[in-house]
């Protein structure tokens, strides 16, 4: 599709915006990892370093009222969808100013104001819930769309099957986005998945499905634009398999023994972040100075958020009785 001449193409401004979102994701990821390594954050952390093009392009193309359901490895999806960083940092620090008052933490970050509806720690579970949000959009007569993120490993769990079948039957405005990074925890794609391409599985649901280069902003932009249009037009869901790689293994501290060295090196050599930066400069969409300023601004925003988050107060133990139900439980 991306090769077709009529495929939607990002213009210079779009590419710059995508790059900015990538950089916001990457700088934030870097800051989180540093803070964890310094022992100042104690959360489990699933970095998506290397996968930035996918959330950045999606963040660029979605509107504020569009919604996402993402997974434990989902902070990049939020950061690329303009989640404010102060409540994000307060949440991962387990503080009262966190989006979830410190109760959810990194695996359950939620921010409905920007359409960040669910972050799930259960493989596959983003998809059935995204359907419900899509059903609501349909009932509302709204044009908003819902993106369900899930991993390649998650394509083998029952919820995937049930959700894609229902979404297709009901023509729901849901886009199923699978960053295929080749591994589910330590298990490689081929050991877990019986078909060469996850996008092939779309056939089972009479749904359009595409495998694309998730590190290529043009390819991502083209396919995602079409999928969003289709969803907004009431034509139903799309399955997008976006090939990519996670540079830092499954969870922070993971020693990568299960990844062949050459595979990892080859992937890192194609790091999409410097590649897009170089392209922006080469194609004249931005100059070094602008990009350095962009980076400095983002780093300042992140530093401020970190400061804010780490200094937010700890929650009171009374919080155990709040938000279980709408009504507070008596002490």
């Amino acid at each position: 599709m991306a090769e077709q001449s009529n495929a939607p193409k990002p213009d210079g401004a779009a590419l710059v915006d995508i790059y900015r979102r990538m950089l916001r994701v990457e700088r934030n990821d870097d800051a989180i990892r540093k803070t964890i390594r310094r022992g100042r954050l104690t959360m489990p952390y699933y970095s998506a370093r290397g996968q930035e093009v996918i959330p950045a392009t999606i963040g660029h193309l979605l509107n504020d009222e569009d919604q996402i359901c993402t997974i434990y490895r989902g902070i990049q999806d939020m950061v690329a969808k303009d989640m404010p960083l102060r409540p994000l940092w307060a949440e991962i620090a387990g503080r009262v100013d966190g989006t979830c008052k410190g109760k959810g933490g990194p695996m359950h970050l939620t921010y409905p104001e920007m359409g960040i509806m669910v972050t799930t720690g259960i493989v596959g579970s983003s998809m059935p819930i995204a359907n419900g949000l899509g059903w609501a959009a349909q009932l509302d007569g709204s044009k908003r769309v819902v993106v369900a993120f899930f991993g390649d490993g998650a394509s083998n769990i029952g919820a995937f099957h049930e959700a894609l079948n229902l979404a297709s039957l009901w023509k729901l405005p849901v886009i199923f986005v699978c960053p295929n990074n080749g591994y589910g925890e330590h298990t490689s794609y081929n050991l877990a998945t019986s078909v060469d391409k996850i996008s092939t599985r779309a056939i089972s649901y009479n749904m359009p499905g595409f495998t694309l280069d998730g590190n290529d902003p043009d390819d991502m932009y083209a396919h995602m634009s079409v999928a969003i249009e289709r969803a907004r037009a009431g034509e139903g869901p799309t399955l997008l398999e976006c090939k990519t790689f996670r540079f830092l293994g499954h969870v922070l501290g993971d020693d990568d023994f299960y990844i062949p060295k050459e595979e990892k090196e080859a992937a890192i050599a194609k790091d999409p972040l410097p590649a897009l930066r170089a392209r922006l400069v080469a194609e004249g969409h931005a100059n070094e100075e602008q990009l350095s300023k962009m980076q400095a601004d983002l780093e300042a925003e992140i530093a401020d958020a970190e400061e804010f988050g780490m200094n937010s107060p700890l929650p009171s133990v009374d919080e155990l009785r709040r938000d279980v139900f709408a009504e507070e439980i008596a002490a």
Binding site: C69, G98, T99, C100, K101, G102, K103, G104, H108, T110, Y111, P112, M117, V118, T120, G121, I122, S125, M127, P128, I129, A130, N131, G132, L133, G134, W135, A136, A137, Q138, L139, D140, V146, G158, A159, E162, A163, N165, L166, L169, W170, R322, D323, V324, F325, A326
Partner: protein, 329 residues
């Protein structure tokens, strides 16, 4: 003054649905065979709804319980009030992640930013010889799950009133229909409105002992009352109605008065919901009881097929009478 109608649980539930859907356009219905061309649900409780309210609000689904509850959760987060049917309670097992890890927890995990006001209706109970995979009372599992309310009505009026409350409730509820009670007729006031969740119903007053029960076992307790009266035992019968949160105050007040308590449920006795009630009574009324708190529940096995075994699985009126007598010493 409003009149009273005789109706069964199916009709009462249907009436609750019609009122709820007329009052609030956000109320939705989904489940297998749920729309009218498919019969309005396996027992017909949803009959007429898709015709009256349209198939966009009343949707028949594939046999995909995870997708059913997922769709309900998502719609609820976006402001709807979906009533999802899981045809039989044993099938909640294939949707348990959606119910337990998501519906029940999302409000808490999001620090109150999102909520999941869904009602899960499901049917169960021994007595139809549907055996090991179609009969289990699993309310104890859900009562042990923080964030979901568990409602087990025993009669048509309560079915109507409690279902209305579940639908209006801002949090997830599981509404358990017992096959025996669903078909038993009862009086329902024309203006029967919502019955508050978490409040028990003292069905019969008595002075010698308190029987605490719910759902289908209420019928068997009622049968036992005659036998107890004959034996000169005055039993107070409490229909708990809501299992979680349960009405501790009402139960403790009654047992404080009678000094004796018997908890009766169809769920397997071992590690069953009755243990919470019994141990709370024993703890809170320590030193005030005239006899140990007793529990009757289903046998520790799968629900058997043969009628003679199925009957033996469930506490029968005679078992209730014998247990009550043993408490009288």
């Amino acid at each position: 003054m409003s009149g009273i109608q005789k109706m069964n649980g199916i009709q009462a539930i249907n009436a609750a649905m019609v009122e709820a859907m007329e009052a609030d356009p956000k109320v939705l219905v989904l489940g297998e065979d749920i729309a009218d061309p498919q019969g309005g649900g396996v027992t017909g409780t949803m009959r007429g709804l898709s015709t009256q309210f349209g198939e966009h609000r009343v949707r028949t689904t594939p046999i995909s319980e995870q997708a059913i509850i997922g769709a309900a959760i998502g719609a609820a987060m976006a402001g709807y009030k979906p009533v999802a049917e899981i045809m039989l309670m044993n099938f909640t097992t294939v949707a348990m992640d959606m119910i337990f890890n998501h519906a029940a927890k999302l409000r808490f995990m999001s620090g109150g930013q999102t909520s999941v006001p869904i009602t899960i209706r499901t049917l169960t109970g021994a007595g139809w010889q549907t055996a090991g995979q179609h009969s289990d009372h699993l309310e104890g599992w859900f009562a042990h799950s923080a964030g979901i309310k568990v409602v087990c009505p025993s009669n048509p009026a309560d079915m109507k009133g409690l279902l209305m409350s579940c639908i209006q409730d801002p949090d997830p509820c599981i509404f358990v229909e017992n096959g025996m009670t669903l078909f038993a007729p009862g009086d329902v006031a024309d203006d029967q409105g919502p019955i508050p969740l978490g409040k028990a119903n003292v069905m019969v007053e008595g002075s010698d002992l308190t029987i605490i029960s719910w759902s289908g076992q209420i019928l068997r307790c009622q049968m036992a009352l005659a036998g107890l009266a004959e034996a000169g035992i005055s039993a107070e019968l409490i229909d708990l109605r809501t299992i979680s949160p349960w009405d501790k105050e009402a139960v403790l007040a009654s047992v404080a008065k009678t000094g004796r308590a018997l908890v009766v449920h169809e769920a397997v006795r071992n590690f069953g919901p009755g243990a919470e009630i019994a141990s709370t009574i024993s703890e809170e009324l320590f030193g005030q009881l005239k006899a140990p708190v007793k529990r009757l529940g289903g046998a520790y096995c799968a629900v058997p097929f043969a009628k003679v075994l199925e009957d033996a699985f469930v506490p029968q009126p005679d078992d209730i009478i014998a247990a009550a007598k043993s408490l009288m010493g």
